[in-house]
Symmetry: C2
Subunit: 182 residues, 2 copies
DNA sequence: ATAGTTATATAACATATGTTATAAATAGGA
DNA sequence: TCCTATTTATAACATATGTTATATAACTAT
């Protein structure tokens, strides 16, 4: 009886993701999504209650994308360094996504602690703890220092405050790691 | 012959500063300024050509405020640590100003290098270089590491991603400093 | 084939913003 | 006192956004 859905939730979320990625989250709107999908604004607000609901869903999606990104392989042997350098590279390569994730009010409330207790990261921490032969508290403090430095670099890159130089970033993170190990 | 100016440029800029400081730069508008000054929108756009011109001027003002803030005295003996801890405290105490300064597009283009060659900072660098008995390049790399870490902490604090714990921040910055000195 | 359900287009309403046109108010010199 | 330059208030225009009302079109069970 009813006509088939032409504009699915997936299409809407994907369009929203691309808009944020290319133009920044400030440019996400019902109309920008509709325009990208070549439809009117109606289907967009038919599948979702409001633009905030869409933003929420894309945030989730972007968060997963980010996690995959930083967990992707790197050529360093130090796994923490790999994580850090990927984190930094994300700030540079995906600056709009970075800003959406960490500089929009959506981020508020997502505490470091909940981040540190993420199951995927917990695994990494355990490996680190074993590999470096340090106790959990030390592993945690090492991770924290590296995270802070990586976040600083990524933030500076995402906001065009410095040029991307992988070697320089690597040196900084290594030096931070060294200091944290003491 | 003409009536006296009731609404001066200073009043406008001060109002704009307060609005950004209290509500965030997204809430700066001709009307929000006018409302705070208890006048219509006309005087605001009479003294300034556009809202962007106002934003520009307040940015300058906020930049100076930030510089004064991080150069204010601290109780640590390591001058770089004082700078870093003040920078971090700014991110926490003045989160909206921090976001305006470093996370709005106004920041784009202000490169690290121009920041590093700021005359006020150059003086500090020289003192550091002498006091730590390291050459300029080393002083620069130490400063860079500390700056990145401080910026990371400040950014996390400004975006409500972690609780402010001065001792924890101090430990992290000290550890970064130690690593950079090697 | 037709009817009823429902996805979509069109268009409107409400609000927020920057900006500008017009008129009224004001202050000091003639 | 009145005139004139200029500041300000009022109000409008233009645009952008979220959201909703109405009508049209599309599909499938009958």
């Amino acid at each position: 009886m009813p006509p088939k859905v032409k504009v699915t939730k997936e299409m809407i979320l994907k369009a929203a993701f691309v808009i944020i990625r290319e133009y920044g989250h400030e440019h996400l709107s019902v109309r920008s999504i509709a325009e990208r999908l070549g439809c009117s604004t109606q289907p967009v607000l038919y599948s979702f209650r409001s633009i905030d609901e869409i933003r929420e869903a894309v945030y989730e999606l972007t968060d997963n994308y980010h996690t995959k990104f930083i967990l992707s392989e790197g050529k360093e042997d130090n796994p923490l360094l790999v994580l850090g350098l990927n984190y930094v590279r994300f700030g540079h390569d995906e600056r709009n996504l970075f800003r959406f994730l960490f500089q929009s009010d959506k981020f508020a409330g997502k505490d470091m602690n909940s981040l540190l207790s993420d199951p995927q990261l917990s695994e990494v921490m355990k490996v680190v703890s074993d590999e470096l032969k340090v106790n959990k508290a030390k592993a945690r403090s090492i991770f924290l220092s590296l995270f802070v430095a990586a976040h600083g670099l990524a933030s500076l890159l995402a906001n065009n405050a410095m040029a991307y130089d992988r070697q320089q970033c690597k040196k900084i993170l290594e030096s931070v790691f060294t200091g944290a190990m003491i």
